[in-house]
């Protein structure tokens, strides 16, 4: 956390904020999704887009608006008659004959003063030959309908080193499209998962247990009784149950029903919502708080082995290593407690008291967690990591095109997701055919033959292939404005997730059919 940030937090909690500044107001609707951390990641990002097609411009529009730091469009082509007709970031026939990249950069830059845009009119071939380090200096690289062999070269370059930027390869023809994000590894702390961390009702920490045991239902007036938070009711009910059942939990269906009935029997009046809440949440008593299986898997991640973990490893894996150690050392083998308490029926005093118990305990566990950290990590990141420890994500990817090389995976995909796989293959076939001869429209037969050669002659293409082939043959070079706009949104969305490291990006090929209007994911 920067000193500026910590200053802000101090001011926010001690004094009244004044109305937000113009920038905060401008970005208000997106800050509610990715907060200041996500915004600052966007603002320090540099995006390279190859080609100034309608699709590329649409993608960039959706990145310039939320405020990336910089973008460059690499395109040496001049605006053609057809470009001028389908790209909103060209000025109709006035743009014809000018550099596509320069026109698009000029018009895209109007969308947001805070974003720096550059046009580059060199050829990709030239740069790949003479200046590959320019390409790898970007945060992320996006390529639309790039020539097959150039895409191969580009993807090979970016795959060489795991620190090189991810590549988003986008292809479209008519109503059909797919895109793929090539990355080595992508780690996410703020996955914005909808699952919530355990409240430890089954394994209460001492202060919570004490609070629950101190309840004296019979000495309460109806108001107090009706405002005991359900968490405390459940901890107490479970303690009482264990006492009378040889320290074991309600196990069978009958026992659990009995446990629930017991809770309702505690009611003083029929309409006590806190007891209704306790009954509804009773499953928490027999859902054991332990390391979620998705997180347990991460503990055996190769990045955590002692010979790979060093000072140059990303903080994420140091945090993960500390988490693993914390879980191993903790008496009850759980993740550190988070201080986030959901709202529940209660009066202010009881709720705030309970919230404070959770906070105090969470702070203790955080200190324990920090003691396992091998390198210093800033406190805001530690807090965020603990808060999201139940929903951490580590994605590992494959190189672009690996799927098309894997005959087994293709065959499997053709049988489980035939529609999606056929569209993907037809797009692959189109780009291979275009690479060999750009002058003629590929026929349905040639597309089918190419698809067949990709999957291998022994595999029979499913019936769904006809729909994909026919549609590609109908409009092989058509970049429809709506398809471009749809892809523009989809790809920008994923790029934002990659850059902010928030939410979970798509893994594999995202396939889009805008005839029946669906999307699907294959080859993950």
């Amino acid at each position: 956390m920067s000193s500026q940030d910590s200053q802000d937090i101090v001011t926010a909690t001690t004094a009244i904020e004044s109305a937000p500044d113009a920038k905060t107001r401008r970005y208000d609707r997106q800050l509610r999704l990715w907060a200041a951390t996500g915004q600052s990641a966007l603002e320090s990002s540099r995006v390279l887009v190859i080609s100034a097609s309608a699709t590329s411009s649409s993608i960039l529009k959706n990145l310039v608006l939320p405020g990336i730091g910089h973008f460059t469009i690499l395109d040496h082509a001049k605006v053609s008659h057809s470009d001028a007709g389908n790209n909103f970031f060209l000025e109709g026939s006035d743009s014809i004959g000018k550099y596509r990249s320069e026109e698009a950069v000029r018009l895209l830059s109007e969308l947001n003063d805070g974003v720096e845009g550059r046009a580059n009119t060199r050829t990709l071939e030239d740069i790949l030959e003479s200046q590959p380090e320019w390409i790898t200096s970007f945060t992320i690289v996006i390529a639309h309908n790039l020539d097959h062999s150039l895409l191969h070269k580009l993807s090979a370059l970016l795959w060489k080193d795991s620190r090189y930027p991810p590549l988003v390869a986008v292809r479209s023809a008519g109503f059909l499209a797919d895109f793929y994000i090539q990355f080595h590894e992508h780690t996410i702390i703020e996955s914005h998962s909808e699952t919530s961390p355990s409240l430890r009702i089954d394994k209460p920490f001492p202060a919570l247990r004490e609070l629950a045991l101190s309840l004296e239902y019979d000495k309460m007036d109806p108001t107090e009784h009706g405002h005991i938070p359900y968490v405390v009711i459940l901890v107490r009910a479970l303690e009482d149950w264990k006492k009378s059942h040889g320290n074991s939990l309600p196990k069978s269906y009958d026992e659990r029903q009995q446990f629930k009935k017991g809770i309702l029997a505690l009611k003083m009046k029929g309409d006590e919502e806190n007891f209704d809440e306790a009954e509804a949440q009773a499953y928490r008593c027999w859902t054991e708080t332990k390391i979620p299986s998705e997180i347990a898997v991460l503990f055996s991640d190769p990045a955590l082995s002692t010979d790979t973990l060093n000072t140059s490893t990303s903080p994420f894996f140091h945090l993960l290593a500390a988490l693993k150690e914390f879980a191993a050392q903790s008496e009850i083998h759980t993740l550190p407690l988070t201080s986030t308490l959901p709202d529940m029926k209660s009066d202010t005093q009881n709720y705030i008291q309970l919230q404070r118990l959770y906070k105090a305990r969470a702070e203790e566990e955080k200190q324990a967690f920090k003691s396992y950290l091998q390198v210093p990590v800033d406190d805001a990141m530690v807090d965020s990591f603990i808060k999201n420890a139940h929903a951490l994500v580590v994605l590992r990817g494959k190189t672009w095109g690996a799927f098309d090389e894997d005959k087994g995976a293709l065959a499997e995909s053709l049988s489980t997701m035939p529609k999606e796989t056929c569209i993907h293959l037809a797009l692959s076939a189109l780009s291979l055919l275009q690479a060999s001869d750009t002058s003629v429209s590929p026929s349905a037969e040639s597309i089918r033959a190419k698809m067949q050669s990709i999957v291998g002659q022994s595999i029979k293409l499913p019936d769904e292939a006809d729909d994909a082939i026919g549609e590609i043959a109908r409009a092989p070079f058509s970049e429809l404005p709506n398809t471009a706009a749809f892809l523009g949104g989809m790809v920008a969305q994923e790029v934002i997730k990659m850059i902010t490291k928030q939410y979970v990006p798509v893994k594999g090929y995202c396939v889009i059919d805008l005839i029946e209007t669906w999307t699907g994911t294959i080859g993950a």
Binding site: A475, L480, M490, Q493, W518
Partner: protein, 429 residues
Amino acid sequence: MATENGSATSSDWQDRYYHVDQILDRPGPRTDPSFLAGDEVKDFLRNKCKILVIGAGGLGCEILANLALTGFKDIHVIDMDTIDISNLNRQFLFRPADVGRPKAIVAAEYVMKRVPGIKVTPYYGKIQDKGDDYYLQFNLVICGLDSVEARRWINATLVNLVDPENPESLKPLIDGGTEGFKGQARVILPTVSSCYECSLDMLNKPTTFPICTIANTPRLPEHCIEWASVLEWPRARGDEKLDTDDPEHIGWLYSIAAARAKEFKIEGVTWSLTQGVVKNVIPAIASTNAIIAAACCNEAFKIATSSAAYLNNYFMLIGTEGVYSYTFEHEKRDHCPVCGGEALEMSISREWTVEQLMELLTEKQNIQIKKPSLATPENPIYFQQPPQLEEAMRPNLEKKVSELVPDGGEITVTASSLPFSLSLIITYV
């Protein structure tokens, strides 16, 4: 100026529609056999088709740009809002200098300037300002709205517009909506497929808190904010209307909420949260709007040209964890108050009284409604309950139906024995 086959005008440079024409020059495998490839469909799209866009906000800006590039040349747009600075992160037809100006007008100007030869006609006002004649002039309607109420209104209006005598009266309605990384697009063919009202119970309700919690047992920062806006505002500011766009108002609520939070030792009241709660702010980003608007415009294009199968009838997208989408057919609801129920044509004598009509409804073999209550769209005629209304309307029983209902006019009948309601179209013999 139209050329001989009507498919090109002076602003159309050669190859302007190179990309779209690849689709319009030949059918694909999933194209309906009725599709007539070539000049006729291009002429319809570019010179005849008239399309209405409702909303010039996050979705609306995208929709207008897409339609213009696709080749729709007669576009109308309605929006009652003016531009706010918080729109600029996604409503890409607006610049900081436009803040305060009407969205519909600025958006129309921008699209016409950028895409030559397109006519965009703006209307700065409410959809409710316009009547049937206005809506009847369009071939298609696309909605990019953020209000349930406005959607219900336009949906009901388009369903009501359907006239069995006039096939042109059926206007496809394409509706889009977004929230953060999530969105949906759907195609409604009024009276044919499921309408907006059919799916009303699928909607999420905005979070509300019990008023006694707000008053007495606040636990969350939101409770403190609602205390300020729901209880303290009217107490302290009297009849002054709370304007959630006025920074002074938000500032006032924020300071009241912050003081209350301090008193109760609750953390987390911020300016941004205050604004979020009182305005019910929905997160919104350019990319989601782009996806949903493109899906809507793509349906409009396919429906207008028959060039490919169209969405049947609901596309839902969730982009928070990977890309998850679900395309399904939302079923029409039998007793939908807008598109369901039944309509009966009844021919009666001009001399008939309301009482006679009611007797007929009660006794007629195929109707047999017990204790019907009757109203015209403007006025109640006779209500069985509550007693005060029953008494007030009792004199109507003696009146002639023809004094209360014009020829071809409608009567809504409700009764506990009816699942929802029955409408009568009254004609006189």
